[in-house]
């Protein structure tokens, strides 16, 4: 499949929505205002764990300018589960997370919402809402949560996956995976290394806070404008939470200023709708950055123990791991995914894995780019590095020796199809970066990473215009350049210039049902629908040509943008797209192509990263001085945006490894809910990030596309940590490798060396 030569796919046109974005014209979530609009503000719990005894809203309601006040009792609880593809979302938890009913379960948990004529009045009203709490002991770590005397968050929670689990627990679920005989495997190993690591709570860090405008008509029909990765997901969550018919809710996605998985579950929209319904005026709600940190969905803090056994020649013979992931206030961490990814890059005949989903009094975690994989990769890649050091083997050679190849069984069961991991490791070994000399206080680390490729529901429509141009509409908000990729696909299928294709993002009325943008699925699954819709147009064009020539459609060929008549057809010349389009009205009417599908998850993605780190021994500060990322993307439709996805994931992974963390005090209050102290990488922190795109075609996609967006955040944690080990000689097992932590360890090690 990768043997096919493409005319448009693989080129780098300027994205169609680009001018709007560089001029500030593009409209994001907070950029819309409606006439007669009110402003909504939320009241949040100051306590990490407490029972709500009473809420007194009288003073707030009496304030002039206040038009609606709601608390949890105004939104009925629901037991609905939505088959939103990505694991049935438990709407009871989403709704309770959105506004607390009986208990607040994290600092920042919403307890009330106010709409008023100005933002100032709304804020003032919020401060007048009087909530009486009965404080409870907060549970702020995995160790505390699983302790026998732990304060329990949910009295009705029993550990799933454990037969006869009868006592209330903070462990929502236990999962297990096994192959072979791990005890015998370890017994046969020549070297066994075991490490326990911890990673902190980190946030996706999208620069655009959540925002929406909701309008509710007296006929029960509502419109929500919002920034989201999934307009259909928003519609269905709002409808289910408010007990409305989904047909009465229209969701219009704005441009989205970053999501990374954090803009799928709703936090504002149903509340904005409820306020708008009560006030009979539109309501706008925009989170501030403080709220985004405290009360949206960061990803899990983890405690992961990994044990790996190998023969003297570096062959892995056995592995075991136990993974504890914080879910936050409600069940549902990516512990299961972490378990499936842990050993995915390697062929290991004997393993035992267990994973635990643990609730704690922190915000409910949401998906963050390859959810569950980066943390466990950090653990495994650190241990692989240790094995290589112990056996005095090159770290890339050890990985090549054990790299999974086509036909090997993935740890979660099925055999891998064609994959590019080994190819990339071999390329990495030959790459100039791997051989470049290091300067003083510099070290080098390498790591692999793995992530799946979500499939699920996608729809696309391609409309042909009479001048031979085309429009393609899908339901996927464009976060990273997917509109450009879709235009390239239509151009390729119809052989028309990509500038004559207009890619658009529809709303829930104008687009067929489409699952969210994310999960590395848009170019893959929605791409398949776009290609299908374009091919549908092509088939209709063939039929129109047949009609024009009065021949059987089966005899009409299509070649390079032209319908070719059968030989010996009188008065018949090849007809191009533009000619056929111009005559559509006479040959049968409008030409609209459509495709909708449910794609399987497949064509998994691997990455290999090399990181050079320089550490200042006097301050503990480190800087990435060189970085190379290899990734098997199947087929790069628009290479610039593929490179961009790789570079962006690398930057997030570096931030996770070096500086980012939620800092909580003993009461469970986040102390750094701002960009100054939640330190994400800035331009001066990073070098140019070199990308090497490898294309091993994914047999499930017409062009061989694999999802690209998520894999690149997985290897950096291990690559940076291994580089740190290389520089300092110290194996850090806790992230982030921030200056205070590194300096303390260097100082301690120097003290010990000197023998003080």
């Amino acid at each position: 499949m990768s043997e096919r030569t493409f005319k448009y796919v693989g080129t780098r046109p300027i994205r169609h929505d680009g001018v709007d974005k560089v001029t500030g014209r593009a409209n994001y979530g907070a950029d819309l205002s409606l006439p007669d609009m009110l402003h909504g503000v939320l009241v949040r719990s100051p306590y990490a764990h407490a029972r709500i005894v009473a809420i007194d809203t009288t003073a707030a309601e009496a304030l002039p300018g206040v038009k609606a006040v709601i608390t949890g009792k105004d939104i009925p609880e629901t037991r609905a589960k939505l088959p939103l593809g990505e694991g049935a979302i438990d709407l009871h938890d989403v709704s309770d997370n959105m506004i607390a009913r009986r208990k607040v379960l994290y600092e920042g948990h919403t307890v009330a919402a106010v709409a008023a004529t100005t933002l100032d009045i709304a804020r003032q009203a919020a401060s007048l809402i009087n909530v009486t709490y009965e404080r409870l002991e907060p549970v702020l770590s995995i160790d505390r949560a699983i302790a026998p005397d732990a304060s329990i968050l949910h009295e009705d929670m029993r550990t799933k996956g454990v037969p006869n689990a009868s006592k209330p627990s903070n462990i929502a679920m236990r999962m297990e995976g096994k192959r072979g005989d791990v005890d015998r495997g370890f017994a046969e190993a020549d070297v066994v290394i075991e490490r326990e690591v911890r990673t902190p709570t980190v946030h996706q860090g999208y620069i655009e806070p959540h925002a929406c405008v909701a309008r509710f008509g007296e006929d029960g029909r509502a419109i929500v404008w919002c920034t989201t990765q999934g307009p259909f997901a928003v519609r269905d969550q709002c409808a289910a939470i408010l007990g409305m018919d989904a047909a009465h809710v229209k969701v219009i996605p704005s441009e989205i200023g970053g999501g990374f998985g954090g803009k799928i579950v709703v936090y504002l929209e149903p509340l904005a709708l409820a306020l708008a319904r009560n006030a009979q005026r539109p309501v706008k709600m925009v989170m501030n950055r403080d709220e985004v940190f405290r009360a949206t969905g960061p990803t899990s803090a983890t405690k992961i123990r990994v044990k790996l056994g190998a023969k003297r020649d570096g062959t892995f013979v056995a592995a075991s791991a136990s993974l504890y992931y914080e879910a936050g206030a409600y069940r549902g961490s990516p512990a299961g995914a972490g378990m499936m990814c842990a050993l995915a890059p390697y062929r290991i005949p004997n393993f035992f894995l267990e994973a635990f989903d643990v609730v704690v009094n922190k915000p409910k975690v949401a998906a963050y780019r390859a959810p569950g994989s980066p943390m466990v990769s950090f653990a495994v890649e650190s241990v692989v590095d240790e094995i290589a050091r112990e056996l005095k083997l090159d770290p890339i050679d050890v990985r090549i020796r054990n790299a999974a190849v086509e036909g090997d069984l993935a740890p979660y069961g099925p055999a891998y199809g064609p994959i590019g991991l080994k190819t990339m490791l071999e390329q990495a070994r030959e790459h100039p970066h791997w051989k470049a000399p290091l300067g003083p206080n510099q070290g080098r680390g390498v790591a692999c990473g793995f992530w799946f490729n979500a499939g699920m529901n996608s729809s696309a429509t391609v409309t042909l215009n009479m001048d031979g141009s085309a429009a393609v509409v899908t339901g996927n908000p464009d976060i990273g350049g997917t509109r450009a990729a879709q235009a390239l696909m239509v151009a390729e299928e119809l052989s028309i210039p990509v500038e004559r294709v207009r890619p658009g993002v529809g709303d829930t009325d104008s687009s067929g049902m489409t699952d969210l943008t994310g999960g590395s699925r848009v170019c893959y699954a929605t791409g398949m629908a776009v290609i299908g819709a374009a091919q549908d147009v092509r088939e209709q064009l063939r039929a129109r040509a047949a009609k024009t020539w009065n021949v059987n459609v089966d005899a009409v060929r299509w070649d390079g943008g032209f319908a070719i008549p059968p030989e010996h057809t009188a008065n018949a010349q090849p007809l191009g797209v533009a000619e056929l389009a111009a005559k559509m009205a006479h040959t049968g009417g409008p030409i609209v192509g459509r495709a909708s599908l449910y794609a399987p998850m497949a064509g998994p993605g691997f990455g290999v990263h090399i990181c050079d780190l320089e550490v200042d021994p006097e301050t503990g500060q480190s800087r990435v001085v060189r970085y190379t990322a290899f990734q098997d993307v199947g087929k790069a439709v628009h290479p610039s945006y593929v490179e961009g996805q790789m570079q962006g994931g690398v930057a997030q992974g570096i931030g996770w490894a070096l500086n980012e963390e939620y800092i909580y005090n003993a009461d469970g209050v986040m102390e750094n809910p701002g960009f100054l102290d939640y330190r994400m990488p800035v331009a001066s922190d990073l070098p140019m990030i070199e990308t090497v795109i490898v294309e091993v075609a994914n047999p499930l996609h017409p062009y061989g596309v694999r999802g690209v967006g998520e894999v690149p955040i997985v290897p950096p944690l291990g690559a940076v940590a291994n580089a740190m080990r290389d520089v300092t000689g110290i194996r850090f097992t806790e992230l982030p490798l921030s200056p205070p932590r590194v300096l303390a360890a260097i100082t301690e090690r120097n003290r010990e060396t000197v023998g003080v």
Binding site: V22, Y206, G257, V682, S684
Partner: protein, 167 residues
């Protein structure tokens, strides 16, 4: 409390708006003047999404009080494209597009304004100088690689155009 009436030169035009005394310039630009190109990412001056040029100085408009705009000259992203030339982008904007220096685009207005301020102050920055100047602008999507390439490429084109001898 009644609002203040403020008059300022915004993107080359005298504009007026009403604002509260405690309102930020960011809010006044977006809501009072209706220029929503400048974005709020943090409201604490840490992300640069609200960057504007204020009397020749690059500032985070979330940390400037709206009344301070009285009588001042302000440039926002909407004022970057050269006016009077019809449908032409500023070289920085054009290079951002060519280099694919944006993905979600939310930080882009702040970056092009900050980059303009950089090139106004230093028409031929080194990569390091560009990175440090732009360290006040957060991007979560790109890893900054293509942004820096776009800025350096624009600098080269702009100083080339200025300095090239006519033959």
């Amino acid at each position: 409390m009644s609002k203040l009436h403020i008059e300022a030169v915004i993107n080359g035009e005298t504009r007026e708006f009403l604002c509260d005394a405690h309102e930020t310039l960011l809010s006044a630009l977006r809501n009072g003047v209706g220029l929503t190109g400048t974005k709020e990412g943090c409201a604490t001056g840490d992300c640069g999404a609200c960057s504007v040029i204020f009397d020749g100085r690059l500032v985070p408009s979330c940390l400037v009080l709206a009344p301070e705009a009285q009588g001042r000259t302000i440039t926002t992203v909407e004022g970057l494209a050269p006016s009077g030339e019809g449908a032409v982008l500023h070289p920085l904007q054009q290079k951002f597009l060519e280099h694919a220096a944006l993905q979600c685009g939310i930080c882009t207005p702040g970056f092009v304004v900050a980059a303009k301020a950089l090139l106004d102050a230093n028409p031929s920055p080194t990569e390091e100088q560009a990175r440090y100047w732009l360290a006040g602008n957060l991007c979560r999507c790109t890893g900054y690689d293509k942004i820096i390439r776009a800025v350096l490429d624009a600098a080269e084109e702009m100083s080339g155009a200025v300095g090239a001898p006519t033959l």
